[in-house]
């Protein structure tokens, strides 16, 4: 009897030991994760208000004065306002085109049976796993041949394509989760195919569309490789390319570089912060369906 009691005591002590270990491990783990994620960007943010001398001699201290010199200068060094405008035009247009066109395709694939449906779906899905860096030369040639080299339209076309697989998967699984009788009622009422899609399906699937749009916007806003390959003038270059202006001979100051980094990253961070619940819940819906 007695030995059994001690054994039990010992066991509960051991469990408590494990509990303390796991909970302190989990707190430490989370602290490290937060530190590695936000320290670099917070450091860049504070440094963007410091002078070059302060950055070089006391890199961890807070700025002595909060001046916006770096931000003002960044606009002088590079055509940042031009790049912002380009990025907005390109990201918005490619988002609308991508979500609209791929939305139409996903809808008919999810809802109707037709010849070659499986072949089309599988072929389109392959694009998700294609390393797009392997296609830089032919895509460059194609864009060049159709006369869209160094144009916004060229980048819009390529970005619309780059987001094709993600949007297809998201919207396909979203349409599958919508009950079929909604649009059947519409058809009975005599509404046409296109009208049903626009007036019935799109509003019902709005959360799916919103998530696809956020992801597509971030993709177009952040893309760098094709932006440098397919454009060469400041008339058509986008925000991620702007940072290369800050390491040349005439514009070497750290303050402006750091200010530019903040201005390049901030729109993505704000957009994600505002829309994250939406994005997270839709990703769940997509992944549950596989």
């Amino acid at each position: 009897m007695r030995s059994l009691a001690t054994k039990k005591n010992y066991k509960s002590e051991k469990i408590r030991g494990i509990r303390i270990f796991t909970s302190s491990f989990s707190i430490l783990f989370q602290l490290i994760i937060v530190a590695i994620s936000i320290l670099p960007i917070v450091w860049i943010f504070f440094s963007s208000f410091k002078t070059n001398g302060e950055i070089l001699n006391s890199s961890l201290s807070l700025p002595k004065h909060w001046n916006f010199y770096g931000y003002i200068n960044a606009f002088k060094i590079s055509p940042l306002h031009k790049f912002y405008a380009n990025s907005i035009i390109i990201a918005v247009t490619s988002t609308i085109l991508n979500v609209f066109f791929v939305g139409m395709a996903s809808y008919v694939i999810a809802r109707f049976n037709f010849k070659f449906k499986k072949v089309i779906l599988i072929t389109l899905s392959l694009s998700l796993f294609l390393p797009m860096t392997s296609l830089i030369h032919p895509v460059y040639m194609t864009i060049n041949k159709i006369g869209l080299y160094d144009t916004k339209a060229g980048l819009i076309l390529v970005y619309t394509a780059l987001g094709l697989p993600t949007t297809l998967f998201l919207l396909n699984s979203y349409f599958l989760s919508i009950p079929k009788d909604i649009e059947e009622a519409a058809y009975i009422d005599g509404a046409g195919f296109f009208r049903t899609f626009i007036q019935i399906i799109v509003p019902v699937a709005r959360p799916g569309f919103a998530t696809a749009a956020v992801l597509q916007f971030l993709l177009s806003w952040n893309e760098f490789l094709y932006a440098i390959v397919l454009t060469n003038s400041k008339e058509n270059r986008t925000i991620p390319v702007a940072l290369s202006y800050f390491t040349s001979q005439f514009s070497f100051n750290y303050t402006s570089l750091f200010a530019a980094i903040v201005m390049v990253s901030l729109p993505s961070i704000i957009l994600f912060a505002l829309m994250q619940e939406q994005v997270v819940s839709s990703l769940t819906a997509g992944s549950v369906k596989g």
Partner: protein, 208 residues
């Protein structure tokens, strides 16, 4: 050295140059020089972490810029040309005239003649510290007093025995890329100047 599209980097001149570069990396510079860009070089000099920088007169205005250098920095700087009596010749902008009719072409020529005239060269010197392209420009005393460093440099440059051109513009582009990705190996003694030269030669010969 002035051949276009160099394919052989194993000549004694190149080996000697790479040996000097290696020595400078190892003994005479900051730790961030390897992989560093202009910003690192300039900022180390402006914050007095290095004693010398190889650069031209366009940098002089930065010495007085309070956002870039500490106050009084300019008074500590002197100028010299490279050992062996050489200066690096950085060319000015070049122009092409593309006007279709004679009237416009003539007008463009007149404008270009003005832009390269003595007055404008002097003005450029006075305002932004551009080195005059012509060697026989007389610099007025008041400009000389205002820009002692540039005046000193001009005097030295005019007396130089050699002028180096930007001959890297004649290299195959991929050899320049090989150069920069292999500098760390050279700097950290993982590669001898001879091996470095061989690597560049290999890269150059990829071009057909």
């Amino acid at each position: 050295m002035n051949t276009t599209n160099i394919k052989d980097f194993t000549t004694p001149e190149f080996i000697d140059a790479f040996t000097k570069i290696q020595k400078m990396f190892k003994e005479y510079t900051t730790t961030d020089a390897v992989g560093g860009k202009y910003e690192n070089g300039a900022n180390n000099f402006l914050s007095e972490k290095t004693a010398m920088i190889a650069n031209g007169p366009w940098m002089i205005s930065d010495f007085q810029d309070p956002t870039k250098a500490p106050a009084g920095f300019i008074d500590k700087v002197g100028a010299a040309i490279f050992p062996g009596q050489g200066v690096f010749d950085a060319p000015m902008l070049g122009f092409f005239i593309a006007s279709k009719d004679k009237e416009h072409a003539d007008a463009t020529v007149t404008l270009l003649k003005y832009l390269t005239s003595k007055e404008v060269q002097l003005r450029g010197l006075e305002m932004v510290g551009t080195m005059p392209a012509s060697t026989n420009i007389e610099i007025p005393q008041e400009v000389a007093n205002k820009h002692p460093l540039i005046t000193e440099l001009i005097k030295l440059a005019n007396g130089a025995k050699y002028k180096y051109n930007n001959y890297q513009g004649l290299w195959y582009p991929n050899t320049l890329d090989t150069l920069s990705t292999n500098y760390p190996a050279l700097a950290l003694n993982k590669m001898t100047p001879q091996e470095f030269a061989k690597k560049l030669t290999e890269a150059a010969n990829k071009n057909k």
